[in-house]
Symmetry: C2
Subunit: 216 residues, 2 copies
């Protein structure tokens, strides 16, 4: 098992801070201060910031401090649209390419998700949610697709995290995951597409609601 590199570790830490809200959207990320604060030099800190920029969590400005990203609703919706296309393609390919091991893995993740539902804190449950979707993408056996899909999930991380506040949403997600898993096991392309549409339509609605509520 290879340890993550120093820049990746730093990126992970910053990412958690951003998702948890310790670093608020719009705040500048002064690389010197952050580096000192975390006991590393500017070089790996710079690389970490590039990683997060690639994930859309921070925005770079030439010759200025990078900012914690604060994308407008329209941007997020654009991402959801692309994510839907990517997930539908994943599903289609997975219906023909998924092995039994792939399906077993999915079933295991889904079981974990269900068992965590009542106990785990949001971030943990949320990461299991993510890994479920990534496992479907990987079942397509198309690495380029899985990688791009992962990148879009990451970009929507914060928005999705915000929508996971309410228990009711998480209940719906539970049912939708079951529907996805069932359709894939039956290798039923049409049902899988329908399930993805429902899932992402629901996500889009939730995000819209959160944005409206935030408009205070």
């Amino acid at each position: 098992m290879s340890e993550p590199s120093l820049p990746e570790q730093i990126a992970n830490e910053l990412r958690r801070d951003i998702l948890r809200g310790t670093l608020v959207p719009g705040a500048p990320l002064k690389e010197r201060d952050r580096a000192l604060e975390m006991g590393v030099s500017r070089t790996p800190m710079r690389e970490a910031i590039r990683i997060l920029s690639q994930e859309g969590l921070v925005v770079l400005r030439p010759a200025r401090s990078p900012l914690v990203a604060d994308p407008p609703l329209s941007d997020i919706m654009d991402h959801v649209i692309v994510l839907r296309a990517l997930e539908e393609l994943s599903g289609e390919l997975a219906c023909t390419n998924a092995t039994e091991e792939d399906l077993d893995k999915l079933r295991a993740i889904n079981a974990k998700f269900e068992s965590e539902f009542y106990t785990a804190d949001r971030l943990v449950s949320f990461e299991t949610d993510m890994s479920f979707h990534m496992a479907i993408a990987r079942a397509s056996h198309n690495y380029a697709l899985a990688d791009t899909h992962r990148s879009f999930l990451a970009r929507l991380w914060r928005a999705r995290f915000l929508t996971s506040t309410r228990r009711r949403n998480r209940q719906t997600v539970l049912e939708q995951h079951a529907a996805l898993l069932d359709a894939l096991c039956r290798r039923d392309r049409a049902a899988l597409k329908t399930a993805f549409d429902a899932h992402l339509g629901h996500l889009a609605d939730d995000i819209r609601k959160v944005f409206e509520k935030e408009q205070t």
Copy 2:
């Protein structure tokens, strides 16, 4: 007009060398030597290499020299599959979102492509080809989509470049571009999807042929 940053300039230069074949696939990119050679320090050279790795033109190995990428045929085909999905989505969105200016721009690029057809060298004609596809993606008015699309075009750059050798292919491309433009101007989703399928199916066939021929 903002000048590209130093790392971007370096990345551009390296990219040309890779596409032109000056840097052959599989060759190591020693950052110290390259930096010295180009009269810059290692820091921006490192960043440039990260950019190219993000584009899939070089592969990073922990604690080892990065290599010029040499993807197997299956990898490239995976990329074509995703590119098709992205272009179809672009087309669909562009049919509703494209403005008249967008269409004018496309017409202009297409005219440029036609006029260059007999005169320009491969790389120039090729870049016009790329810009045509990127302009369609931008006409979707979905920035995330256009950006991802651009990234996939870049990853397929070398493979596409290799297929552009034969005049006959380029003739076909000319006709297919006309079909794409026509369908989009008529805002005919179905026709546009058909045209994209034909275009990318053709591309996949060509790449396969080039790989078979290279198998010497």
